[in-house]
Symmetry: C2
DNA sequence: CTGAAAGCGCTTACAG
DNA sequence: CTGAAAGCGCTTACAG
């Protein structure tokens, strides 16, 4: 059923029906209600391609994911939040999977030229990120989840990675730890850079030395946590506390600690960053794990908000938010064993 | 730049350019090559809405995800595989997030009526699944990941859940276990039903009783594994081996075993189902965990194949595949402690 | 507040 | 093998 047929079947002109469904003010409220109800009953929905062609808007936002990256649990949580927000306006999410960074740029070019999406979401910015400039040149609107080193005229939302790790490190020092290991995200990722800085600042402020061999960088997978922790434990003077960049690396740390016959929360303290997944819960670990906590899902919801404003034509180009991160203390942190 | 402008700028008619880009055989190979190269250079991509309107095809496939369900790591892995396959044909994935089952049906209706996608992917079928019949009525092509109890005339791909658990259970019995716990997926999910059946058949064949209190059903989250295992351990005669439906529940089981002061692979044996994530690896656990293994990502790739065939007009309505599941034995399984 | 009609940018049957 | 033109189903400026 198309507009013509639908309009005819309810005895109205195409113009009026179209305007009623799009919520234009020219239509009498009562008329709109009736048309809305009838469209529901008869199951009429405008052909999205036709509407897109006429308006120049796609009614969808894009996310480009690299196969090797971007398919971690974080992305899923983020999309759940984003989608739940966009659903209210019937904006869909278009996923494009690419192989590498170069493929990502090509994908943006195609999405822009073919007008498949009205905006895209960028995530996991790196220190020298070319994507923001690239999208600007394409005139493709975007919101960045995370932030650049150099933030031009575009909207972004990030958590306070610096503050979170600064605070966690400071806390560990304050309860007596003098050697603190750090298992961070991949080198080059802006968030990991900020966490490094928070870590170093806390050490410096409290007059503790920075040890190169007590910091590692890598993907958020359990194996990286395990190996890093094993390396730490093999040092002549191992750390007495460790910061893990994710729950996945934290699981690896816990394993390494057990394997070494040590006890977490007694011999070794741990604070992990928790993006909040329902299937892995810091409160359910043994011992329960202290975390710096920030919900990925909520970030998705908020970025959905901003996108909707963007699509409504509002100027959000200078909008940015930095979300505070909670420090949740549980059993895995304690003063060092004398 | 639109077709008209692009065609003019390279001195060809719109018809020829359009046909060349769509790979129609009427265009001389040499001409097509030239046009293809020029379109790359000038960055011309057909407006997808216009193409969709003209052809009636959207160039995208849909997945509808419920907020409370479908945002687990499995879905992510599946999409990574699916997307990598569809990318080769520049077919995008349209994600629609809904609240509940009813919202899911409404979403299909909208996707069908507005011609936003050419086909959808159904996943996690339940015993009384109304979605297949619903989509047929809408004339919306689909592929089912999993299978129905009653499989009509539609394509599906599933793993051999029955066989996997039958084999794992049989193995445990063969090495001497007489009480085997089972932490299964949610009641009502077809895959969980099949696993139940495999479990029961193995017990029955070898003359072992089925104990109601040695089987639980629930979501694939660590907490479910933990609690189920604690319940098992509080039985007057606890199981000596356990099957966990996922790596997430297996983590919970491992925790409960440790909390009870027992040792996995000695006091308690464990076999977990592993959908293969790169961030949680059965080989890296302590002890390493025996698994029934099947790659979610590969399933995504294969379903992408089938969708592409579908979009190419091939009749795949009676296509189905059941994939065998590997049993990988590691340190977590051993004969019962005397 | 409502309607007739132009136009969005493609694809493809038809004619050559 | 190539081209002129109709038509896909909407939206929206314009006229009333």
């Amino acid at each position: 059923m198309n507009l013509k047929e639908f309009a005819k079947s309810i005895g109205m002109s195409q113009t009026t029906v179209s305007r009623a469904l799009s919520g234009y003010p020219e239509v009498k409220a009562e008329t709109r209600q009736r048309i809305l109800k009838l469209s529901q009953e008869l199951g009429y929905h405008p052909n999205r391609s036709a509407a897109g062609l006429a308006t120049g808007r796609a009614g969808a936002v894009g996310i480009v994911l690299r196969e090797s990256h971007g398919f971690d649990p974080n992305t899923t949580e983020f999309m759940a939040g984003l989608g739940s927000r966009l659903e209210t306006r019937q904006i869909d999410i278009l996923i494009t999977v690419v192989e590498d960074r170069e493929g990502e740029l090509t994908a943006y070019q195609r999405l822009a030229a073919s007008k498949r999406v009205d905006a895209v979401i960028l995530h996991t910015p790196v220190v020298d990120d070319e994507r923001m400039a690239f999208l600007k040149k394409l005139k493709m609107p975007f919101v960045l989840h995370g932030r650049g080193i150099d933030n031009g005229n575009f909207p972004w939302i990030d958590i306070d990675n610096f503050g979170a790790i600064y605070r966690a490190t400071s806390y560990l020092i304050d309860i007596g730890h003098k050697r603190i290991g750090m298992i961070n995200g991949s080198k080059g990722d802006v968030f990991a850079e900020h966490r490094d800085q928070g870590y170093r600042k806390a050490l410096k402020e409290r007059g503790l030395p920075f040890y190169e061999d007590m910091i590692t960088h890598g993907a958020f997978i359990d194996d990286v946590g395990y190996r890093s922790m094993q390396d730490f434990l093999s040092l002549s003077e191992p750390p007495t506390a460790v910061l893990a960049g994710s729950m996945m690396t934290a699981l690896g740390v816990m394993r390494a600690v057990r394997s070494a016959g040590l006890t977490l929360g007694r011999d070794i303290s741990l604070i992990a960053h928790d993006d909040v997944f329902n299937y892995i819960n810091a409160d359910n670990m043994v011992p329960t794990v202290s975390t710096t906590r920030s919900s990925m899902r909520e970030a998705g919801v908020r970025i959905g908000d901003i996108l909707l404003q963007m699509l409504a034509g509002r100027d959000v180009s200078s909008h940015s938010e930095v979300w505070p991160v909670e420090l949740v203390l549980r059993e895995s942190t304690a003063p060092p064993a004398s």
